[in-house]
């Protein structure tokens, strides 16, 4: 892992992200990482809050197109995340909070997929027994908030 991190950090991608004086390098990559986060977690939050009982006039199936925004946000953040990791790989690879962040995202994605399958895919299920999907929605909000906090703490821990 250390060898890989050192190689990645010295790769053209790592050097460019870390050292390019262009406004289109690090500042733009970091901004896109934040925008992607906003789209991914924002769309997630809309569905989660709806399942928790807010904005009841929105029919649950009408929220299904939001998943396309989520995957787009996730794709942007996967790419920009690799670039930001590459820029400082030897440090980030040794930070426990980085692995906590990845684990939180992994579990959050599983929950997101479960919500999509059992709730948005079958609205009748939610109307009959809203309990399970509400619990999933609450867990989803907490996991994404935790992932954001862990990501931000990488700069300070």
């Amino acid at each position: 892992m250390t060898d890989f991190a050192a190689w990645l950090q010295d790769s053209a991608l790592g050097v460019w992200t870390r050292e390019s004086p262009s406004i289109w390098a690090y500042p733009t990559v970091l901004t896109l990482h934040t925008v992607g986060l906003g789209v991914l977690v924002g769309a997630n939050a809309v569905i989660d809050f709806r399942l928790l009982g807010f904005a009841r006039r929105l029919p649950i199936p009408s929220l299904a197109p939001l998943y396309r925004f989520m995957w787009a946000g996730f794709a942007v953040n996967a790419v920009t995340g690799v670039m930001l990791f590459a820029s400082d790989a030897t440090k980030k690879a040794t930070q426990p909070v980085f692995y906590i962040k990845l684990a939180l995202i992994a579990v959050a994605l599983v929950i997101t997929a479960m919500i999509r399958k059992t709730v948005v895919g079958g609205p009748a299920l939610h109307d009959a027994d809203p309990g399970p999907s509400r619990r999933l929605a609450a867990v989803s909000l907490l996991l994404w908030a935790g992932a954001i906090a862990a990501g931000r703490l990488m700069a300070y821990l």
Binding site: R18, S20, P21, L141, A145, A149, A155, Y156
Partner: protein, 130 residues
């Protein structure tokens, strides 16, 4: 019931987020109320994102001290990679690091040994605590 639940969520969110916001400033790591001066020669310059660094070695009291000066990112850094040559003698004033046993500075103003400001804006970049 719903208000209670909303409040619990809101408080939980704030508990998660507040310490992060509290850290969102140089004041967490550096003491903005103090200015300290260091003299030494430049030993290393790292021009990189998110923050650049200038390293000095001073030998004031017969004892060698390594100063680590935190600067702005590449776009707001006062010097390019070779803009501040290794071995340049400099005087620096800045806000000291709060970490015990370290010699860190930020918000630094650079000068030649005769006091003349060195570099653009005396080396000051964007990463300057107010």
């Amino acid at each position: 019931m719903r208000i209670l639940f909303t409040s619990v969520l809101a408080v939980g969110f704030l508990v998660c987020v507040t310490p992060v916001m509290a850290h969102h400033s140089a004041a967490a790591a550096y003491d903005e109320t103090k200015r300290v001066e260091a003299q030494g020669t430049v030993t290393k310059v790292l021009v990189k994102n998110p923050h650049s660094w200038v390293f000095l070695e001073s030998s004031d009291n017969g004892q060698k001290i390594q100063w680590q000066i935190e600067m702005g990112g590449v776009t707001s850094m006062a010097w390019t990679k070779d803009g501040l040559p290794i071995g340049t003698p400099v005087k620096v004033t800045g806000n000291p690091s709060r970490a015990p046993g370290t010699h860190g500075l930020t918000g630094a103003a650079f000068a030649k040994m005769d006091g003349t400001p060195l570099g653009p804006r005396a080396g000051r970049g964007e990463y300057t605590p107010r």
